[in-house]
């Protein structure tokens, strides 16, 4: 057995790679066998071999074990007392792959590639990589030997390569091309206006994935698209998708699932806040683990500016890894995005202190990234046949005192902190032949400083000596105090680990002499001897640290006012309230309403609630006294922009019907909760009004705490936003040249889009009736999601909410619709609706207007607060909407204005914020009234809901009480307590030396119709609508 192994070891080297240049000199053919002996060898994070021998050759591990015969021709290194670990792998890097320059982009655009410059799937790391020795060295210093790097630019970013940090030419350092294909939601350096929002990025990806699949089926390509060509291959392989926050993880999963794809998500490190949902999607993660900076919260006013979410992130960022692991989510750790790479060790120890098993912590940096990228047969552990990329360290990797001495990359040695280097620090007797002086050396190896004095002299007379060590050759020179010209100069060798020096010197005057220095026995020097064992590998003591740490609960969502416990639907009867039924029964003065399993079960006077449950098992029924209070259905807001992430407008093209608000619902927006406190239960989240054909709406219920997808009101009809007038013709946004610039152009934009959609539909219809044989050799027509949304309108499957102001444009769109054979479901804003009310009624359009806004732009100069009343009197279904996160929580007051301006009855005015918008959204069979069978979306008001004195006391959605005034007061107190607890911890951390920063003001952006861009945060107030 041993013999055959030896035979193998001595076999001649045949494996010259095809890319090695022909030899220009006598070949270096001697085998490069290296044997490391007596090491504490960690073959992986869990397996230790004591007194082990590791033999490597040509960058490969040959053998490992504690009873290994060392081949005679091996170079032997004794690592007694030292540890060997698999080297680290960085799974998310842009090493050597800087974003492209404008010139490069120009050149790339001349190639046969996709029209959208954010799609750069043809960018291949192994082609673009430019070695970066400085960064590579920094990575090696911290123990990394391999990175997976891609160019972090664009939405489809191309492929990554696995790059060994061996400072070899790319041919030898790139050990795996096409490690993965990379994607993000950020368009990077692309100058294209599309996409300009998160939903635009998602829509572009969706269309492009469709295109790639279609492109692959083409029997003959009529055109060449390098991006699609590469994408076709990439989607069959490993995909890595970048998330900017926790909700993005779910967005990626949803998008990929549409194509039966899966992938790895690079997270933001805040996954703890949506753990169950993220676990459910089952995608492996790559997550950062940097300790966020603390804030300066010593000043109580400054501390007010640090949000609860930020405090929690500071507290939980280092707990994330433990929580992911406990949830059995596969993940690797990345150092990408850190300020200081060297902090990884400190932070890793924190992960362990916060609960993560220390072996697992190491796995997340070694075997796990290797496995994620399919490199685990070669990297991430040390076994025969694997690559010789490993670390020589002084201790356990996570030990506080650990030093990485050497990083070996593919069998190549990089010395980080030479273990054999003499350690000079200490006190010496310096024998100068004629006198013995005292020499003191301080500082770390390489940065030593020295002083000398005569032993009988006072310490104040000591002088600084110049000390220089190169290898083991030392030179030392000094002059007595006040006599700089009397220099003594010494040169000599350092012996052993540094305790004995000797050599020749020259005195002032030129006489040569022999000298020596011997470290004193009483020297404070701590012995650092490679030949002496350092003791057993010390594992960080995590149990004790873990016990000390207190974490507050994770609320859903993890912002202020989130829930600690899941809320359940109630079985409850509200008695003796004034009930606004919105049915033929009208307003009941003293009635009872019973809700059960999310529905209204009964409405009536003096209900015998138990009798309503036939059979023996009766539910427990709670009661609320509604005396003096008013009970209504929840408010339905037809026009809202709350709870939308990173951009409400994809206004870059005049038609962006493919973008979907449903892709970018933000369930963490506190305005959901604030709206509930204003009695709102259902909203239509609309795309903005920057372009004639905007994006698809989402209709959600305000189920505060649930994930984005669980907010969606299932069964709601699909909807889309259209817009007319000044916004779409870009009147108020400075110079612009995008079509259209006039209302005339707006009309033609619609006609053209719908003619296109008709043709598109016809082409697909023709294809759909072809027999299989007839399809032979032909490609299916391309699916175009932009056209599909319009085709749905033409088929009557998608309803429109159209932003509109003036009479002419309202009439125009109805003409377009009539001639194309569809209906405009709702005109929203519709401030001149009163001028064309009869035409609207004939067309069958509803109106959703503002109560009293005007004078904010020229086209609302004839806006009147009597609009709602006039429309109503004309028989148009009329609603009053918000388009504003503030006003939406007072829509009851806005409804009252329909009474004030135009004399609508209270009951009809109330329907304008409930039943009528529910009708527009096609939801009146479920919401908008209080009657048996309808969803239990209810609000209990302190007074007549149309009065200024009314406050919502409780708000139910599907029978779940998502807002309750009394509970809200408890929440406030609890938030204050939590803030106090974390703030104190933060101050303690700062006192212990943690870096900190000044608090800033967090002001999440509130979207309005005409807001462009995807910047989540803003400072300035914003007018317009």
């Amino acid at each position: 057995m041993r013999k055959s192994l030896f035979a193998f070891l001595f076999a001649p080297l045949l494996a010259l790679s095809q890319s090695t240049p022909p030899p220009a000199h006598v070949r270096d053919a001697a085998p490069t066998l290296i044997a490391f002996t007596n090491a504490t060898l960690h073959t992986d994070a869990r397996t230790v071999v004591k007194k082990a021998t590791l033999i490597i050759r040509d960058g490969e591990v040959i053998t490992i074990g504690d009873k290994v015969s060392i081949p005679p021709n091996a170079v032997v290194r004794d690592l007694n007392g030292l540890h060997i670990w698999p080297a680290l792998i960085e799974p998310y890097s842009d090493l050597g792959l800087v974003a492209s320059t404008p010139d490069e982009r120009k050149a790339e655009n001349r190639a046969a590639r996709h029209w959208n410059a954010a799609l750069r799937a043809d960018a291949k790391a192994h082609e673009l990589y430019k070695a970066d020795a400085e960064r590579s060295a920094k990575l090696r210093e911290q123990g990394y030997a391999l990175v997976i790097a891609h160019r972090m630019d664009g939405i489809a970013r191309g492929t990554s390569a696995a790059i060994a940090l061996n400072d070899e030419p790319a041919v030898k350092s790139i050990v795996a091309p096409d490690a993965a294909a990379h994607f993000s939601f950020r368009k990077g350096s692309s100058q294209d206006s599309y996409p300009g929002s998160l939903m635009g990025s998602i829509a572009l990806l969706r269309q492009t994935l469709l295109d790639a699949k279609w492109y692959a089926t083409l029997p003959q390509n009529r055109e060449t698209d390098a991006v699609l060509l590469d994408l076709v291959r990439q989607i069959d392989g490993r995909m890595v998708c970048e998330a900017s926050e926790r909700n993005d993880v779910l967005r990626w999963s949803k998008l990929l699932r549409e194509f039966q794809l899966t992938g790895i998500v690079k997270g933001a490190g805040d996954e703890y806040a949506r753990l169950p949902e993220i676990k459910a999607v089952g995608m492996p993660l790559i997550v950062p683990f940097a300790q966020p900076e603390a804030y300066d919260v010593e000043d109580p006013y400054d501390a007010l500016e640090v949000t609860y979410a930020r405090l929690k992130h500071w507290e939980l960022a280092m707990r994330n890894a433990y929580l992911l692991d406990s949830a059995e989510i596969t993940f690797a750790l990345t150092a990408h995005g850190r300020k200081e790479l060297k902090d990884i060790w400190k932070d890793l120890r924190k992960l362990v202190a916060n609960g993560l098993d220390s072996a697992k912590a190491i796995e997340k940096l070694t075997s796990e990234p290797a496995r994620l990228f399919g490199l685990d047969s070669r990297y991430g552990a040390l076994r025969p046949g694997m690559r010789a990329s490993f670390l020589i360290t002084s201790q356990h990797l996570l030990h506080e005192k650990n030093a990485i001495h050497e990083t070996w990359v593919e069998g190549k040695r990089f010395v980080i902190d030479d273990p054999d280097k003499p350690r000079l620090a200490g006190s010496y007797d310096l024998n100068l032949g004629d006198a013995i002086w005292l020499l003191e050396v301080t500082g770390e190896a390489g940065k030593n400083e020295a002083t000398v004095r005569r032993p009988d002299e006072a310490d104040s007379l000591k002088v600084k000596a110049r000390l220089d060590l190169q290898g083991r050759v030392v030179s030392l020179s000094f002059a007595p105090k006040g006599k700089p010209e009397e220099v003594t100069r010494l040169n000599g060798s350092v012996h052993g680990e540094g305790g004995v020096w000797d050599g020749q010197g020259q005195r002032p005057g030129g006489a040569w002499f022999a000298w020596s220095a011997v470290r004193r026995a009483d020297s404070k020097q701590v012995k650092k001897d490679a030949s002496t064992p350092l003791g057993a590998s010390t594992k960080p003591d995590s149990a004790a640290a873990r016990a000390k740490q207190v974490f507050g609960p994770i609320t859903y969502p993890l912002v202020g006012y989130g829930w600690k416990d899941a809320l359940l639907h109630e079985t409850i009867v509200i008695r003796n309230a004034t009930v606004w039924t919105n049915t033929a029964k009208g307003i009941l003065r003293s009635a009872d309403v019973l809700i059960h399993e999310g529905k209204v079960k009964a409405v009536g006077e003096k209900l015998d609630a138990l009798a309503l449950f036939p059979g023996k098992s009766k539910p427990a029924i709670a009661e609320i006294d509604g005396t003096g209070k008013h009970l209504t259905c929840g408010i339905v807001d037809e026009h809202s922009h709350i709870a939308i992430a990173r951009g409400v407008n994809e206004g870059s093209h005049y038609n962006t019907s493919e973008v979907r608000i449903g892709d970018v619902i933000n369930p963490d927006d506190v305005n959901i909760y604030r709206n509930l406190a204003g009695g709102v239960t259902t909203i239509q989240q609309l795309h903005g009004s920057a372009n004639p054909i905007g994006g698809q709406s989402a209709v959600i219920k305000l189920r505060w705490g649930r994930s984005a997808d669980s907010l969606v009101l299932s069964g709601a009809r699909p909807r889309i936003k259209f817009a007319l007038g000044e916004n779409v013709k870009q009147s108020n946004w400075g110079p612009s040249s995008r079509f259209p610039q006039t209302r005339m152009g707006v009309e033609q934009a619609f006609y053209d889009a719908f003619h296109q959609a008709r043709a598109y539909q016809a082409e697909h219809d023709r294809w759909s009736v072809l027999k299989p044989k007839e399809r032979d050799g032909k490609a299916a027509p391309r699916r175009d999601l932009r056209m599909e949304a319009l085709a749905e309108i033409l088929r009557g499957e998608r309803d429109i909410s159209c932003h509109s102001y003036v009479q002419s444009e309202i009439a125009m769109l109805m003409h377009v619709a009539d001639s194309m054979g569809f209906k405009v479901n709702t005109f929203t804003h519709i401030l001149e609706g009163y001028k064309v009310a009869q035409a609207m009624k004939r067309h069958g359009a509803s109106a959703s207007t503002f109560s009293d806004w005007w004078a904010y732009k020229l086209e609302v100069n004839d806006a009147i607060p009597h609009n709602a009343a006039l429309l109503h009197l004309n028989g148009v279904h009329t609603g009053i909407n918000s388009d504003d996160a503030e006003m939406s929580r007072r829509l009851n007051q806005e409804a009252a204005k329909a009474v004030k301006y135009g004399g609508v009855s209270a009951e009809e005015a109330w329907k304008m914020v409930t039943l009528n918008p529910a009708r527009m959204l096609g939801l009146d069979h479920r919401v908008g009234a209080v009657e048996p069978g309808k969803d239990a979306d209810l609000v209990l008001w302190s007074a007549d809901p149309l009065s200024i004195d009314a406050r919502a006391l409780s708000t139910w959605v599907d029978g779940v009480r998502y807002y309750d005034e009394a509970r809200d007061r408890e929440q406030r107190a609890w938030i204050a307590t939590e803030r106090d607890r974390i703030t104190r911890a933060m101050m303690q951390a700062k006192a212990d030396g943690a870096p900190s920063r000044k608090p800033g003001r967090e002001r999440p952006r509130l979207w309005h119709c005409d807001d462009m861009g995807d910047d989540e945060y803003m400072m300035d107030e914003h007018d317009g609508h």
Partner: protein, 437 residues
Amino acid sequence: MVTDRIIFLFVALLSGMLTHAQIPTPALSQAKSILITGGTVHVGDGKVIDEGAVGFRDGRIDYVGFGYGVKAAYDTTINAKDQHIYPGFIVPDSPLGLIEIEQARATLDMRDVGQYEPELRSISAYKSDSRVTPTIRSNGVLLAQVAPRGLVIAGTSSVVQLDAWDSDGAIVKADDGVWMTWPAAYQRQGWWAEPGETDSEKKDERAKKIEELRTFFRKAKAYAAELKPSTIDARMEAMRGLFNGSKALFIRTDAAREITEAVLFAKAEGVKRTVIAGGYDAWRVADLLRDNQVDVILRRTHSLPMRPEDDIDMPYKLPALLKERGIRFCLGYTGDHEHAGARNLPFVAGTARAHGLSPEDALRTITLDAAAILGIDQRCGSLAVGKDATLIISAGDALDMRGNDVRLAFIQGRRISLDNHQKQLYRQYRKRLEGGQ
């Protein structure tokens, strides 16, 4: 005691409708004495008189009390039984008349360029015949403090009444105050994945800004010491009044730290009267404000909490918090749609009432206390003998949307038209509907 003529309110209403001009014609000065009787009189200082009466002649109030106490004879008696009589509401810190249409640049005069520009005077740009104004006053808002916006020092405001032939005729108090924005203490920042900059560099920048302001104020104070300077400096002249009390310094700021800094700054620089505008955190620094007699023009109650997890009803209850802490304040309407939206001023007061203020205290925040803070309470802000007869009669509770039904309004005794562009359009289209067109 019975007067020669009685006008019932519906008659008054009808006559109002006869006005057909696009912009209602300003009313003529009061020729005949008027007594309003039988209604609930909300004095504005906290008192309510049931079945009260208000009499006025030559534009001044000469009787406020119970109906039965009226001694003098009046030319006209208005029966306001079951109605409510209020002082005209006052909107402070408004760009009314400086903005016609927010997104039509040519109609904007509220914000200039520069940094320290106290010399910019709002009254010089004030459009007394704005089409917006009649829609404001028909909800009972009869007085406005017209204030410029932006910059570090935006300019000088004036207080106007809302029924005038021209800007000079509108003046109630010219050049009442200088408007300053205190440099923000907190920089904006993104979320943790992409934190914004909040560095010491920014901090230094701010310190520099405050130092510049200080230098500016010191120069102004030195300049003000000389009554007839040899060279006239427009900026310094505009600052003069701050140091002798003839002008107030209005400082826009919200956070506690900023308010504290601003108040101490104004005090140190010898400003005689300081008012904080915005004042979201004013309740937190109540002692400081009270000790220095600093008033507050509170930001719109109909706004969102400034910080994500502030109490969700914080803006609604700020008035009650200030009241509890003894700070004198009035309500503003700054924010989105602030010029045309000012007609909702009574409802922001109504919301304050729904969230802890007593009804008459809520009224004070848009009447007497507003007048006192603007320095016009000698003439306006409450129904008191000797004051301007600037008042409204509402069919119901004017602080509630449904009750706010202003039947008659008087400014300095002149019965103003309550018609407006919007009511005209409403009538037109109502007629169209009734005519079956």
